[in-house]
Each structure stands twice: as C-alpha cells, then as structure tokens.
Symmetry: C2
Subunit: 225 residues, 2 copies
C-alpha cells in the first residue's frame, strides 16, 4: 500500500526527531552522540544520514520542529476575541512559561543558527513564531490602540528580549515562573499606546488612563446597543 509506506517513513522521521530532541536536550549538542540518537530511534546510525545531511542539519530540523510546536501552542493560548492588551499578556505568559520549561532546547536554538560562513541566519519556524507578536500588535495599531510611530520591530525586541533575559535570570536562580515580570513588561508597553490622537505632550499616564476609560466606555456602549 502506498499510503502505509509513506506513513511508515513519516513515522520513522518523526521518531528520529523525537529521539534526537531528547538526546540533544539531555547531553547538549556536543555531548549528543549520533550512535545514541540512532539507538533510541531504533535505526542504524547510517540511516540518520538518509534523512539529514549531517549532525548540524539534524539539529536544525529538531529546533525547527520545536518552534513549530511552540507557534501552534501560542496560537492556542490566545483568546480569539480578546483585546490587544489581553492577547499580549497571554502571549507573554505563554512565552515566559515555554522559555523556562524548555530552557534546554531554547539554549540549543542558538546552535542551530550557526553555520560555517553565514553570519546571521534565522530558521523559518522561528520567524513564523515571531509573527504571532507582530500580528497582535499590528491589529492594535490598526485599531489605533497602539502608536504607529514606534516601529513594530522595536517593540518586538523589547518584548522578546526582556522575556528571554528574564527567563535566563529566573532559571539561573532556580526560580519558577514570575508573573511580576509580565506585569512590568505590559506596564512598559503602555508607552507604545496611542496618546490621544492629535493632542501631543500630555502626561502619558494620565493619557493612558483616559484611553483606558475611553475603551471601556466604548465596550459598554457596544454592549448596550
């Protein structure tokens, strides 16, 4: 049967990636032995090279798969009709949790970027993951909730950069998830909010309060109509 054959191959490939993920996470990239990965995937060492050109590309496949799963999880964690701020908070929660829980693979991710010759590379699935943030924020800008004057990439770097560093700090200290990191981050993001279109120079805090009230008011109005 054609289907069965293909399915067997895909199962084998998936099996290999699962085994490789485990070994890389346990022993690190350099500590991981191809022989061990093969043993766990229940195939011969040479077979690995039918699926992946070398150790480096196997690593890239592992990392790529990980981030694909992460994107799936992130999308699932967002409340579909939540406000922009709500979704940002949910994404931050999800991201920080993932960074802490899968710290080993996250660290290994930087190894997948390395490649003799090329200075900076980015795996397609990481790019995809980052787009989740972009999509939320672009919606915010479209709704004029967020300021269009700050480039999205800068907000993104604040978002992911802060969370990654915080995760490292927490893990190094053997601490668990800390919600205050996220509260703080979201507080900072108030800066990026639309400051009453047209009127410049008002105190941002005040403006934010007025903005929030305006949004709440509009929610109420929508509801009653």
């Amino acid at each position: 049967m054609n289907t069965t054959q293909r399915q067997r191959l895909e199962a084998r490939e998936e099996n290999l990636l699962v085994a490789a993920t485990a070994v890389f996470a346990e022993s690190g990239v350099d500590g991981a032995r191809m022989a061990e990965i093969a043993r766990r995937a229940d195939i011969a060492e040479g077979t690995i090279y039918l699926y992946h050109k070398n150790k480096q590309e196997l690593l890239e496949a592992v990392v790529d798969r990980f981030w694909r799963e992460l994107t799936r999880g992130a999308l699932a964690a967002l409340s579909p009709h939540g406000s922009v701020t709500q979704q940002l908070k949910e994404l931050a929660h999800y991201h920080l949790h993932s960074l802490i829980d899968d710290f080993k693979i996250i660290e290994i991710t930087s190894r997948a970027r390395e490649r003799q010759g090329e200075t900076g590379r980015q795996l397609p699935q990481i790019r995809e993951y980052v787009r989740v943030f972009d999509a939320i924020l672009e919606r915010g800008i479209g709704l004029q909730e967020f300021d269009a004057s700050t480039p999205v990439w800068q907000m993104r770097d604040v978002f992911y950069g802060t969370l990654e560093h915080s995760a490292r700090t927490l893990v190094l200290r053997n601490q668990a998830f800390d919600a205050s990191v996220i509260d703080n981050l979201l507080l900072l993001f108030e800066r990026f909010r639309q400051t009453t279109p047209g009127v410049e120079g008002q105190t941002t805090t005040e403006t934010s309060i007025m903005d929030a009230l305006a949004r709440i008011e509009s929610h109420l109005t929508k509801k009653s109509s």
Copy 2:
C-alpha cells in the same frame, strides 16, 4: 631575571588569547582548528594545553577576556559626574555599539556558557560587566530618582534584553547603529522613575489604577465575546 621570565610567559599567554580570539571570530567555534590557533600564536599545538585544559576552556578564557575589556570600555564611556539618566544613555550607546561591532564574539559568548552537565553558568567577567548597569541604577534609586519597587534585575533584563535583540535585528538587516532604539528604551525607563520624589504611594496608586482598569477591560472583553 625573574621578572623577564614571568613577563615572557604572560606575553605568550596574551598572544595565544589574541590569536584564539581571531580564529574563533573568523571560523566560529566548530570551524576553529587548534592547529591554526597554535600556528598564529607561533607555538606548538601541544603548548596550548599547558595554558588551557582543552578547547572549551580556551574559549572561555577568550570570552572572559573580551568581557573584561568591555567592562573597561564601558566604565571609560561614562561621564563620571553625569546624571543617572545621562549615564544610562551612555551605557546603552556603548553597549549597542559593542554588540554590533563585535557581533561574532558576542554570539560565541553563549558557547562559553555551555558545559557538559551544568545547566546555567555565567562567566565571572560577564557578571562584572552587568554590574556596571546595576551600579548606575542603584545610584538612581539612592537619589530617589528611580523607583525602588521594581527589582533592579527586572530593569536590567529589560535593558540588556532589548539591546541584545535590537542588535541582532540590526545586524541581520545589515543596518548600522540606530539611535532611535536607545531613545525608545530610555523613554520606557521613565516608567521606572520615582514620579514625585519623597512622596510615596503616588506611583503605586497610578499603577493600581492602570491595573484595575486593565482588569475591568479584560473582563468586559471576555464577556462581550
């Protein structure tokens, strides 16, 4: 002469580190050949192992040296009697510039942290470098310019995290130093300022208002969907 002998040894060691830095930066950690490093340092391959136990520890020595120099540079870049904000700005400038200019070694830094078995490590000189930020900010808190309610480590993670991610973005795009990143970052840091020095509770109140509003908003949004 005793001194000459010691000096010769130290010069040799320094020479080795310089050669190793160059080769690591050019070829990456995996691409770097011990034979090539030895050749450039004008010593035999075996001699390297009299100074450093193995390739990994040579790498750590290289990275450690790099960050020591960076700390020296950072301290020199600060105007000794400048305001806290002024010094933060100077540090941000210096840091972002360094991240971009020495991108290769910065990337390699993460490799120096890796070590079979240990999950999270930190090189002493990186810890030292990070203290530059801490010192500035603690002065700010002492002067009651900055809010003591947000932990210093969280501000630090925002600071370094944002700059690192921004640097990566800029390098990937082949762009040069971008001052707007720093302006934006410092704008965010306004959040951490003591709103009215001496008067406690004000910032907290405002913050609480924002929190309360955010909660109300999220409730409303969830409900209406």
